[in-house]
């Protein structure tokens, strides 16, 4: 490890980061409640949070595991639909309090997406590189077509297909989005720093070498892929509660590419990069509504230019660390 060891003991850096998060959370809540941040901007911030979770989850598969899944929007759709159907059902039957409904719905979305991700991952991860990209693209498209047409086959109203699933309870707010972003970041961060994370990074760097060192590559690839699907499902469930109306066409190949652009621009393998680029790419188009027709052109140009001139993405694999910055400052004072 080339990282300089932080001066702080683990418990202190946890405390610092925890306090920082609580400060951000309470500050954000206060700003929204007092009307300092208008309702419109509050919604933009929530959308940023959802896109951050999506980017982080894809970064786990692309940046840390070194695979290129192109069907990420499919997992998002699975999470969104399963939690939306659950929440609608609960709302109609009134069998549990809304406070309980939201966490269960979100969790259900994540678990369902993870389950399908696991089922897809077992055959798909036998393939490498381009073939994996294509097979996940195929699965993503199949998920979309199934969501679009399943009602005709089953004969009763379930996903409402092209007519959109409407009247989803709007449960997503700043508080729970922020908490879920923090949880996602924490889980992925600690996973990557753990023994399993090191195995994952080894697979990214050289799969054959990792395998000959005794790392069970199939296990770690499936685990990483399933986790990635889980968080994509959670982001989808948040999105369902945010937007209130779901249509399968929102989860096409285009959406998968948008998530990929976010990850690539931020830097494959940098969680800080994913957060920054997700925030910028979500908020800037909202501010510049007038230029929305140029948005995708700029996205695609950026993607090509970044790949040609800085293939590691804007942040490379740099990570932001609060305690490292503080210890640097402290070090300067002492020295």
């Amino acid at each position: 490890m080339t990282n300089k060891k932080s001066k702080f003991p683990t418990w202190l850096s946890y405390l610092i980061n925890g306090l920082f998060l609580i400060f951000l959370l309470l500050g954000g809540m206060q700003a929204i409640n007092t009307g300092l941040v208008s309702n419109y901007y509050a919604r933009v911030i929530i959308l940023c949070g959802i896109n951050i979770i999506l980017a982080l989850s894809l970064n786990l598969a692309t940046g840390f595991l070194g695979q290129l899944p192109l069907g990420h929007a499919g997992f998002m759709a699975l999470g969104a639909y399963s939690s939306a159907i659950f929440m609608r059902f609960v709302c109609n039957v009134k069998m549990m309090p809304p406070a309980l409904m939201f966490p269960i719905g979100i969790f259900l979305g994540g678990v369902f997406a993870a389950f399908i991700g696991f089922l897809i991952g077992i055959p798909a991860l036998r393939l490498k590189g381009d073939y994996l990209a294509i097979i996940t693209l195929g699965f993503g498209e199949i998920i979309r077509v199934v969501l679009l047409n399943i009602d005709d086959v089953l004969g009763f109203k379930f996903t409402y297909g092209a007519a959109s699933l409407k009247n989803i309870p709007k449960t997503t707010n700043f508080f729970n989005t922020f908490l879920l972003v923090a949880v996602t970041y924490y889980v992925i961060h600690t996973y990557i720093k753990s023994r399993h994370g090191r195995a994952t990074l080894a697979i990214r760097d050289n799969e054959i070498a990792a395998e000959s060192c005794g790392i069970n590559t199939t296990f770690y690839k499936t685990l990483g892929f399933t986790m990635s699907a889980f968080f994509a499902g959670i982001a989808g469930a948040l999105y369902a509660g945010y937007i209130g109306v779901l249509n399968p066409s929102a989860f096409g190949f285009m959406k998968s590419i948008e998530i990929l652009v976010t990850v690539v621009l931020g830097g494959m393998g940098s969680m800080a990069g994913s957060i920054i680029s997700a925030t910028v790419l979500t908020s800037v188009p909202e501010m510049l509504r007038a230029f929305s027709q140029y948005r995708m052109i700029v996205y695609s140009l950026l993607l090509v230019i970044v790949m040609i001139f800085k293939p590691t993405g804007l942040m490379g694999n740099y990570e932001f660390s609060l305690s490292k910055i503080l210890s640097k400052k402290g070090g300067r004072k002492n020295g």
Binding site: A133, L260, M307
Partner: protein, 295 residues
């Protein structure tokens, strides 16, 4: 008798779309064979070809033949341009970067077309008026016959080009072993550009044939068409020229069969299901080479 008629007419439908898929799949397959790149922008080159043909026929009111030639030239030029601008700087980069660049180019073309021509579809005037042919109780549309004939001629010409010409020999050599080919004095850059040119010209022919069958041009027409042609290339074995042709016809017939069985809304899912089954059972495809990975 009526069952027989349905089967035959669906088979001809399948062969018609299949030959378009085959032409496009050839482009995917040749490019993959030579630089191991999935050229995602290939599908959108078809879209550009269709728009060029539309532009020449409607805006400049030219003869359809001129429009067809213009479409093929535009596709060829675009293919070479993309290769020079976007892929050549990344020759030494990891394959993932190359793949992401290809996706970026594909989106750039789609969105530029949307900006220039609008999101709606443009309806295409009739390119050629060919009378239908009746064989017994089966009526075969003239476009189907022309599509089949044109694509078979193109494939035969391509085969001659690859097998007999000097450039074809160079292409085969580069795809076999790039380093060794360079040592033998083959100009790698020229060969790769030539491969892109040939693949894109085939896509141009495919785009004209496709718009003769489905007479409209829209910015996103290329993505699904390209993906299906790609499935055809994988099914036949990517990197293999005869494989791409067989794969294209198989996908076309499978689609027609799905439509005939009343599953037309599941058509796309059927194609991707074929892809998944092929990738799981035999990832190298029907006629693909089995590449052993070396440490």
């Amino acid at each position: 008798m009526s069952v027989f008629t349905t089967v035959v007419s669906q088979l001809i439908n399948g062969l018609q779309t299949g030959s378009v898929y085959a032409l496009i799949a050839l482009g995917y397959s040749m490019v993959y064979g030579i630089i191991l790149l999935l050229n995602f922008a290939h599908g959108d080159i078809i879209m550009v070809g269709a728009y060029t043909a539309w532009l020449f026929m409607v805006n400049f009111s030219q003869h359809p033949i001129i429009a067809v030639i213009a479409a093929v030239i535009a596709c060829t030029a675009l293919g070479v341009l993309i290769e020079k601008v976007a892929y050549t700087p990344l020759r030494q980069a990891p394959r993932l970067s190359l793949l992401i660049t290809a996706i970026g180019i594909s989106f750039l073309l789609e969105n530029l077309a949307q900006l220039i021509f609008g999101a709606g579809a443009k309806s295409m005037p009739k390119i050629a008026n060919v009378p239908s042919v009746s064989v017994g109780s089966v009526t075969i549309s003239g476009t189907a016959v022309v599509t089949l004939i044109v694509s078979i001629i193109s494939m035969v010409l391509l085969n001659v080009l690859i097998k007999k010409s000097k450039m074809g020999k160079a292409m085969r050599a580069v795809s076999e072993d790039t380093g060794a080919a360079q040592l033998m004095g083959i100009n790698i850059n020229k060969t790769i550009s030539f491969t892109f040119a040939v693949g894109s010209a085939l896509a141009g022919i495919g785009s004209v044939l496709y718009s003769a069958a489905y007479p409209q041009a829209s910015p996103t027409m290329g993505s699904m068409l390209g993906l299906k042609a790609f499935v055809a290339a994988v099914l036949g074995g990517i990197g293999s020229v005869p494989g791409a042709v067989i794969g294209g016809f198989c996908i076309g017939i499978a689609e027609a069969a799905a439509s005939a069985l009343g599953l037309s809304i599941w058509k796309d899912a059927v194609v991707f299901l074929i892809l998944i089954i092929v990738l799981i059972v035999k990832p190298t495809g029907l006629l693909g080479r089995n590449l052993q990975e070396k440490v």
